[in-house]
């Protein structure tokens, strides 16, 4: 709308006459053009939407032929890497794709691999888990090798665990539960469990999640420098090698001398590429158009891709909720904050939150409304879940009930601003709810929590700082309310989730960094119940302990589950690669990490 004419006021009379005529006519023309341009812009926005879709559908209908050339032999993935990779250090604090624990084992591998469908441990570098009451033994697969050609032996495994005893690494807590980790022979590793505390689940989880690193390379680095190592040319044991990594992509190429060819086969793709996007949007559009083959992004209303636009896109389930729940994003109260320290206030907030709305909008129908339990009601945790107890002791979305608690039980009075005030003068408000920016589903859930609370007369504001800032505040206990999740489904869940939420042992005080129990919850009965659950030998015993813990949780309400979320999102576009696992063909779990690597060896190139 910048009219150059108005910037040039006429300066001389003779010029003035000249400009005067052209000005008048060109002004009119300019305005007409501006109007057209504005109209065009609006139409353009609409057309852009359709335009993208059309490109997608044309490539989708030709999808049967797949992509031509080298890109046809590449698997394009998205949803793990959001900035230029800074390191590929699996023992560092923030490993980048694909070297982090919760990602595909393309370069580094673990001894065994967790399968979220049945809770079992599939083979990895190890053949199987041989358990007695006090030992766990893992024999290595035959012929395990590093990508530089040297042998991968039990020594490497022992070294990987040994450094966690000396330095503080993400899996260091395994040493709370094991006495020793030794190589009984060059191809066998034995874990000897402590009798007290006795917790085989956590050890199993460490065996399933810890990525094994080569001793010959890492032992040259001093132990206190391990986490700072960038390791930009990683030497691992997996089926892929680092090719290049820059601002825009991470590219891996197939390792043709992979030791596991005899056991797992050879992946059909020669290259795996992870383009680095700025936001969910870019990746979503490319998944729809078939430029991304498999994605771990939150993609709202993904069913529209195949129902409305007939794209060869799929998820684990064909119907709602499309994904398997594997995690539980939580509303975490700072229970030391005045007002929020009152369990009845927390209960009123728990009743006020519109869970069905969070499930249908913030989670795009990928979740059932959350229940008053931190045990997942489906998948392998469901055997510990007790719907009757949830109905009897729990809460549901019920505004009247929330108001009844506030007015009836707490004798709170509404102030002139419509916010309740407790009899002792504490205002139920002025609280800020934080969660990382850009996590759109979580951001929306927070908005709904804030609005739900406002409706009953509790004042909560939302704020979305950068993820590291938010996490720092949360770990230091410097927040009013925050939204985050504790452990997802794993070989140690739901034990690990109860520990994260209720156990005050080993949690740093407020002002220092805590790695779980961010609101520093304390309860005298919890430690014993947790130890009992960890040491339990049968599911019956475990269920009893978990139910007792869940009951304490429902009485104290240190956190409120807001929705169910998949452990990892898993969606695919079959225009170039086909044969992804689904609920109808469940040969591998809908995962990327652990046993999810299975589908990588099975998908096939779509041929003409």
């Amino acid at each position: 709308m910048n009219d150059p004419m108005t910037d040039t006021p006429d300066t001389t009379p003779s010029d003035g006459s000249h400009w005067g005529t052209t000005w008048a006519s060109s002004r009119r023309r300019f305005l007409a053009l501006a109007g057209l341009a504005a109209g065009g812009a609006i139409v353009g926005v609409g057309a852009a939407g359709c335009g993208t879709a059309q490109t997608g559908s044309s490539s989708g209908s030709e999808g049967g032929k797949g992509r031509p050339g080298a890109s046809g032999d590449t698997l394009f993935v998205a949803g793990f890497q959001w900035g230029p990779p800074t390191n590929f250090n699996p023992v560092g604090p923030s490993p980048q794709w694909p070297t982090a624990g919760g990602q595909s084992q393309l370069i580094y591998e673990s001894l065994l691999r967790f399968n979220m469908l049945d809770g079992s441990l599939a083979p990895g570098l190890g053949k199987e888990l041989q358990e007695t009451d006090t030992t766990m033994t893992v024999p290595l697969q035959d012929g395990t090798k590093w990508s530089d050609g040297t042998d991968l032996t039990a020594d490497d495994v022992v070294y990987t665990f040994q450094i966690a005893k000396e330095a503080s690494l993400s899996y260091s807590n395994v040493w709370e539960y094991v006495d020793s980790i030794e190589a009984t022979d060059p191809r066998t590793v034995q874990f000897t469990l402590k009798k007290s505390p006795y917790n085989p689940g956590t050890v199993r989880n460490a065996i399933a999640n810890t990525l094994i690193i080569p001793k010959a390379i890492w032992s040259k680095i001093p132990v206190d420098k391990l986490t700072a190592e960038t390791n930009l040319q990683p030497i691992g044991s997996g089926p892929f090698l680092m090719d290049k990594a820059d601002q825009t992509q991470v590219n891996l190429k197939r390792h043709d001398d992979y030791w596991g060819k005899a056991v797992y086969g050879t992946p059909a793709m020669t290259t795996i590429n992870h383009p680095i996007f700025k936001s969910n949007n870019d990746g979503d559009l490319k998944l729809e158009s078939g430029e991304i083959d498999a994605s771990q992004q939150f993609t709202a209303q993904i069913w529209k891709m195949w129902e409305d636009k007939q794209k060869p896109v799929g998820t684990w389930l064909k119907e709602k909720p499309y994904y398997l729940p594997g995690n539980l994003p939580l509303l975490i109260f700072n229970i030391n904050k005045k007002g929020l320290d009152n369990v009845k206030v927390r209960r009123a907030i728990a009743h006020a939150i519109n869970y069905p709305n969070i499930a249908t909008t913030a989670m795009s129908d990928y979740s059932e409304p959350a229940n008053a339990s931190v045990i997942l009601p489906s998948g392998y945790e469901s055997k510990f879940y007790d719907q009757a107890a949830v109905d009897a002791e729990g809460w549901t979305y019920d505004k009247e009930k929330a108001v009844a608690i506030l007015e009836g039980e707490l004798n709170a009075k509404k102030g002139s601003d419509g916010i309740y005030v407790l009899p002792d003068g504490t205002k139920l408000g002025g609280w800020t709810l934080i969660t990382p920016t850009g996590w759109t589903d979580w951001n929306t859930a927070c908005e709904i929590v804030a609005k739900s609370a406002k409706e009953v007369g509790i004042d909560i504001k939302t704020e979305f700082p950068q993820a590291p800032t938010m996490q720092n505040k949360m770990q230091n206990g410097n927040f009013d309310l925050c939204m985050y999740s504790y452990s997802g489904v794993s070989a140690a869940s739901p034990w690990s989730r109860f520990r994260d939420m209720l156990d005050d042992r080993g949690v740093a005080e407020v002002g220092k960094t805590a790695f779980y129990n961010y609101n520093r919850f304390k309860h005298p009965d919890v430690p014993k119940l947790l130890d009992d659950a960890g040491a339990a030998k049968t599911d019956e015993e475990r269920k009893t302990a978990y139910q007792a813990l869940d009951k304490i949780y429902r009485e104290q309400i240190p956190v409120v589950p807001l929705m169910y979320r998949p452990l990892e999102f898993f969606e695919f576009n079959q225009s170039n690669w086909s044969g992804f696992p689904t609920a109808e063909d469940p040969y591998a779990p809908p995962m990327w990490s652990g046993a999810g690597i299975g589908w990588l060896f099975k998908i096939k190139k779509v041929s003409a």
Partner: protein, 320 residues
């Protein structure tokens, strides 16, 4: 200014502005649905003549209700920020222009520094630093960053008016400083100030939208920019939910466009030399330049003036 013959363009832009004001301030009274109320699911398409006339947004809220409340927020922020920026700009410009000398140098020095700093950066920093992200602080933040170009322009105008005889008369008759500014100087600048104010409002509305689009919008109210922020974050373009992003886009366009049109049509009213039709014919042969014409300089028409600092014409005061 005796014959205020309003043009068609004026009436069109005036009715457009009036329509947006009605939507923003009367709309919320007619549409009873709260913008926070959940009336449907995720991106339900438009249906019927109730709150679902424009469908639902990513939280299952009525887009129509959000649109009218968002328009109100945008107008409030625009008027507030426009007023603040105009008052600051006018005060600094008129004092500097009339006083001249060291005062002028100091004030214009400060203005030049403020001009050199990109406004959007200050706005972002201020809005992060401020604890409260309510509408009023947001308007104030935009207002205090948008005044520099106006101070420069007003000062240029004031410098030229300063030399006129009637000011000598006022000074000789003992009128005091502020009285001269208010009664002898300001009336000659008023047409310019009114037009600049309209531009400030339009710029502030766009600045608010830009800020909200970055996720720094008002936290306790819905605004048009916030609606667009969520529409982008939730991929409404991909899912074909046009009702989530088109209404706020069109409303923003109409707001900014009608204000710019109003400004340019007022320019015609105030400046006879810009009139078309009969006025154009009358202008031949060219009228000799008179001192009065100096004030007929229209403000630079720049949308989002805080985002792009308008180029300032060479100060005309220097040659007088």
């Amino acid at each position: 200014m005796k014959s205020m013959n309003f043009t068609t363009r004026f009436w069109i832009s005036f009715s457009l502005v009036l329509a947006t004001v009605l939507i923003g301030f009367v709309g919320p009274l007619i549409i009873k649905t709260s913008p926070d109320a959940v009336v449907g699911g995720l991106y339900d398409p438009p249906s019927g003549f109730g709150p679902l006339l424009l469908g639902t947004d990513n939280e299952g809220q009525s887009v129509l209700a959000n649109l009218v409340y968002g328009t109100r927020t945008s107008l409030i922020v625009g008027l507030l920020a426009g007023t603040i920026a105009s008052v600051i700009g006018l005060a600094i410009g008129i004092v500097a222009g009339y006083k001249g000398g060291v005062v002028d140098e100091i004030l214009m020095g400060a203005t030049n520094i403020a001009l050199a700093i990109p406004g959007i950066v200050i706005i972002i920093l201020l809005s992060i630093a401020l604890d409260s992200r309510a509408i009023v602080p947001l308007g104030a933040v935009i207002g205090v960053t948008a005044w520099p170009w106006m101070a420069r322009a007003v000062r240029a105008q004031a410098t030229s008016v300063r030399t006129r005889e009637h000011l000598d008369v006022a000074r000789l008759s003992g009128a005091r400083f502020w009285s001269i500014l208010a009664w002898d100087l300001l009336p000659y600048l008023l047409s310019y100030v009114v037009m600049a104010f309209v531009l400030q409002v339009s710029g502030a509305i766009l600045a608010e939208a830009a800020l909200s689009l970055l996720g720094l919008g008002p936290s306790n109210a819905v605004s048009l920019g916030t609606m667009l922020y969520w529409a982008i974050a939730w991929g409404s373009v991909r899912t074909g939910a046009w009702w989530a992003f088109l209404p706020p886009t069109i409303m923003l366009t109409v707001l900014a466009f009608s204000l710019l049109l109003l400004q340019s049509s007022m320019d015609e009213v105030f400046n006879p030399r810009l009139r078309r039709g009969k006025a154009v014919k009358r202008r031949k042969p060219p009228s000799p330049r008179t001192p009065e014409e100096i004030e007929e300089v229209s403000p630079t028409a720049i949308g989002g003036s805080t985002l792009v600092q308008p180029p300032i014409g060479v100060s005309r005061g220097a040659d007088s």
